[in-house]
């Protein structure tokens, strides 16, 4: 027996390593199940990848920065290499950030990659979320993954905020003061929360150290877990796809993870890293050395947060300074209302999938994406939300826009106040009309074909444009979507003639549903009969 084993040829090294690992980790069955997993191809499915890769870049560069950053608010005198700060008293946090920028090898580049990647990470999450929203990819079974994504975005905002506050420079310090003001505006508990958070009166001596733990440990830890859960769910649910021939709710048409997407995703990671590194190498971000150390008695104009907190800045900037004085207590509505709105604007995103499925009553699984035009109400709601968001970003930068477009800051503030209410309504109406127009065009294309641009003159002198019929697959794409019928309140009398009580919530739901699907809220798809009638030969244009 033993001789037999000896004479058998040894397996190649790679296989032996793999065998060894399989014996302990069971990688073969994992790989078998997942290596050939199919993913569909579309550029918009890569937006989330941009977010994922910039997150990885942020973690990698962040680790490097932790090696040199001192999260301490001890006051020292600066004697580093940046001349305009020589001999200035500052916290160790600020001094070590100056050292990272000027005295640590590659420090400034890494800092700039870290910061640019953070801006791009949040922007990519935002755009990815919009893609998921406008294509209806959040519908069952993906609502929980939508929530995970939403949490990642919100946590990303706060990780960013705690991160750019660490250097303890004048700009970020002003931002922290702003946040503290917002916390103080919370009735009853505000003061306590502020005292708890800052370990006493602002700014105290604990802020940087606490923000540091939150920024490098707590929030990224949670985010890392959420990213993993997010990706596991993407695997579990399978990726959504746009309608097309051969694509159904039960399959995924695309290419396998190995080798195609491994190569593409791996390559894309390096492209993302390259683009961000290029930007970081060429363009300054947050030049802390020019800002000076934070002192509560100093403030500068043009103090804005990074873009993802910009809408909160805008809310506070354009809100009239209302306050109520009652029994010796002040309720600062001018700050508290924006704080509440900040939560409401974000929460609207989180709950939307549940509201939509409640209104439509649609509890089925959806793996085929909607084209935004085919869900006009949802698209219009989304555009209205984005409009409000962008208007508030404008409000947050009102002073910069005032100086650079030679406008009055008061005029901009009033413009923002009015358009914050009017803009989303207009955007809703306009978007819906555009969607319906596009639906009409789709219908026209299906029935009459594509405009070829060829003009033909008929014997009797009439000019006509030749229309080319669409290919079968294009026809399918344009007609694959479902069209919903507006809901009706069921019979109010049952078969025995007993009156059924219609609940108020049901009435509301039916009403909203009619608003969603009813009336002229969608253009009826061309029917087979219509199509046959026109293409049967005796049709005419």
């Amino acid at each position: 027996m033993s001789t037999q084993t000896d004479t058998r040829k040894k397996a190649p090294a790679g296989e032996r390593v793999a065998d060894w690992a399989d014996g302990r980790l069971g990688i073969y069955s994992l790989a078998k199940a997942n290596m050939r997993k199919i993913f569909p191809d579309h550029w918009s499915f890569m937006l989330g990848e941009i977010a994922l890769y910039s997150f990885i870049i942020i973690i990698l560069t962040g680790v490097y920065l932790t090696l040199f950053f001192h999260p301490s608010m001890n006051e020292i005198e600066y004697h580093g290499s940046y001349v305009p700060m020589q001999g200035i008293r500052m916290t160790e946090a600020y001094a070590s950030t100056l050292d990272i920028s000027f005295d640590v090898r590659g420090g400034l580049l890494i800092r700039q990659i870290h910061h640019w990647a953070a801006l791009i990470f949040l922007a990519a999450m935002f755009v990815h979320m919009m893609r998921v929203f406008f294509t209806g990819a959040f519908r069952k079974p993906r609502e929980i993954n939508w929530l995970f994504g939403f949490l990642l975005f919100v946590l990303g905002m706060f990780t960013g905020f705690t991160g750019y506050s660490l250097p303890d420079d004048l700009l970020s310090g002003t931002g922290v003061r702003f946040t503290q003001g917002a916390i103080l505006s919370v009735p009853i508990v505000g003061t306590y929360i502020s005292m708890f958070l800052f370990g006493g009166e602002f700014p105290g001596h604990d802020m940087v150290a606490r923000f540091y733990s939150i920024h490098i440990l707590l929030l990224p830890g949670i985010m890392l877990g959420l990213v993993v859960a997010h990706l596991i769910l993407v695997f579990y649910h399978k990726h959504t796809q746009f309608a097309g021939p051969g694509r159904t709710n039960k399959n995924v048409v695309g290419m396998p993870l190995l080798p195609v997407y491994m190569a593409k995703a791996g390559g894309f990671f390096f492209l993302v890293f390259g683009v961000i590194a290029l930007i970081a190498g060429m363009f300054t971000i947050n030049p802390v050395w020019a800002l000076g150390p934070y002192r509560p008695d100093h403030v500068s104009t043009g103090a804005q947060p990074d873009w993802y907190m910009g809408f909160a800045e805008g809310l506070v900037r354009v809100m009239p300074g209302w306050e109520i004085n009652l029994w010796g207590h002040t309720l600062v509505l001018g700050v508290f209302i924006p704080l509440v709105l900040f939560g409401v604007v974000l929460a609207a995103l989180a709950v939307y999938p549940f509201i939509e499925s409640w209104i439509t009553g649609d509890k089925r699984e959806h793996h085929i994406l909607d084209r935004p035009r085919n869900a006009p109400t949802r698209t219009a709601l989304g555009v209205a939300w984005v409009t409000g968001y962008v208007i508030m970003l404008l409000g947050g930068g009102n002073d910069i826009f005032a100086t650079h477009f030679h406008l009055s800051i008061n005029a901009i503030t009033w413009f923002v106040r009015i358009t914050y209410f009017v803009g989303p309504v207009l955007a809703f109406i306009i978007t819906k009309r555009i969607c319906l127009g596009l639906q009409r065009r789709d219908k026209d294309k299906v029935l009459h074909g594509r405009e070829s641009g060829i003009i033909k003159r008929l014997p009797h002198g009439e000019f006509v444009e030749v229309h080319e019929p669409l290919s079968q697959s294009d026809l399918y794409k344009l007609t694959a979507h479902e069209q919903y019928k507006p809901a009706e309140i069921g019979p109010t009398v049952d078969e025995n003639g007993v009156r059924r009580k219609v609940k108020l919530t049901e009435k509301l739901r039916v009403k909203l549903n009619k608003g969603y699907f009813g009336g002229d809220h969608q253009i009826a798809k061309p029917t087979t009969e219509e199509y046959k009638e026109i293409t049967s030969g005796h049709g005419h244009h």
């Binding site: 579309h42 550029w43 499915f45 890569m46 937006l47 990848e49 941009i50 001349v83 305009p84 700060m85 020589q86 200035i88 400034l108 700039q112 640019w116 801006l119 791009i120 922007a123 990519a124 755009v127 004048l170 700009l171 290419m255 195609v260 593409k264 894309f268 492209l271 683009v275 930007i279 190498g281 060429m282 363009f283 300054t284 947050n286 030049p287 050395w289 020019a290 800002l291 000076g292 002192r295 008695d297 100093h298 403030v299 500068s300 104009t301 043009g302 804005q304 947060p305 990074d306 873009w307 910009g310 970003l393 930068g397 002073d399 910069i400 005032a402 009055s408 800051i409 008061n410 005029a411």
Partner: protein, 269 residues
């Protein structure tokens, strides 16, 4: 005395007291105010004033009045001093093109000699801050770091961290300090043009002004090094955010489209 006391509640009593008080203050001021120092009437000086008056009559009198007393279109120039004239005319702000929230910087109309003559004339209307000499405003050897601290204490509220400028109410603004000459920086602090408060030597000594000038020259001029690459206007997160979205995410999406367009395709036979 009784008569006076009886009428102390007369409706006109307050007016009478006010008049008396005003008369007393005015009289005391007239009695004790320092008389204007007699200017040393150097011929060159008086010639400059004379020439300045001619320029003034042509270019300035329509708004500031024939004697510099001011009209509804322009403030009085009595006591603004030669430094104010040198700043306003030397940066092209004056003569103003049109009324508005603020008179902007423009190409300079007068030669430096003419500006000096105008300044001499306006200075002759009443004592005020005098055009500084180079020794006063030269940033040579000043403390840049201290200037930075002073700048953040006194200037950054309106002019931004490094003097990029900022918005004030109703279309007014604090202009960018980039490329402003040390002399004009000094004069602006000394005289407080337009919406700017003035920082006379009593509140901000000459040395501190020089420190601030040195700081501004270091952080916001053509020679300012930008170790991080292009500065994107030095405006902070607004321009960074716009750049990040348009060029950062924009180019990444372009790359994504490119990657998605280049995929492994089954060869068509």
């Amino acid at each position: 005395m009784k008569k006076l006391s009886a009428r102390r509640r007369h409706p006109l009593a307050a007016v009478v007291v006010l008049l008396l008080a005003l008369a007393a203050t005015g009289g005391l001021y007239a009695a004790f105010a320092p008389a204007d120092k007699a200017q040393a009437d150097v011929t060159a000086q008086s010639l400059a004033i004379k020439e300045g008056q001619k320029l003034y009559t042509v270019g300035c009198a329509s708004c500031h009045g024939t004697g510099g007393q001011g009209t509804s279109d322009g403030p009085s120039l009595v006591g603004v001093g030669s430094a104010a004239v040198d700043f306003q005319v030397g940066t092209g702000r004056m003569p103003a093109q049109q009324p508005g929230a603020q008179v902007p910087e423009k190409p300079v109309v007068y030669s430096q000699a003419e500006i000096d003559q105008l300044a001499a004339y306006v200075a002759s209307l009443g004592a005020g801050p005098i055009t500084p000499t180079e020794k006063q405003y030269s940033p040579e050897g000043a403390d840049i770091a201290k200037g930075g601290e002073l700048f953040r204490n006194n200037c950054a509220q309106c002019h931004n961290f490094t003097g990029e400028g900022g918005a004030l109410t109703e279309g007014k603004y604090a202009p960018s300090l980039e490329g402003v000459s040390p002399k004009h920086l000094y004069e602006a602090m000394q005289t407080g043009p337009q919406n700017m408060p003035s920082f006379p030597d009593t509140t901000m000594p000459e040395q501190e002004k020089r420190d601030i000038i040195a700081y501004v020259k270091t952080v916001n001029s053509e020679e300012t090094p930008t170790p991080g690459g292009f500065a994107l206007g030095g405006l902070g997160p607004v321009s960074e955010g716009l750049f990040g979205w348009i060029f950062g995410l924009g180019s990444l999406i372009a790359v994504a489209v490119w990657v998605a367009a280049h995929t492994a395709k089954a060869k068509k036979s």
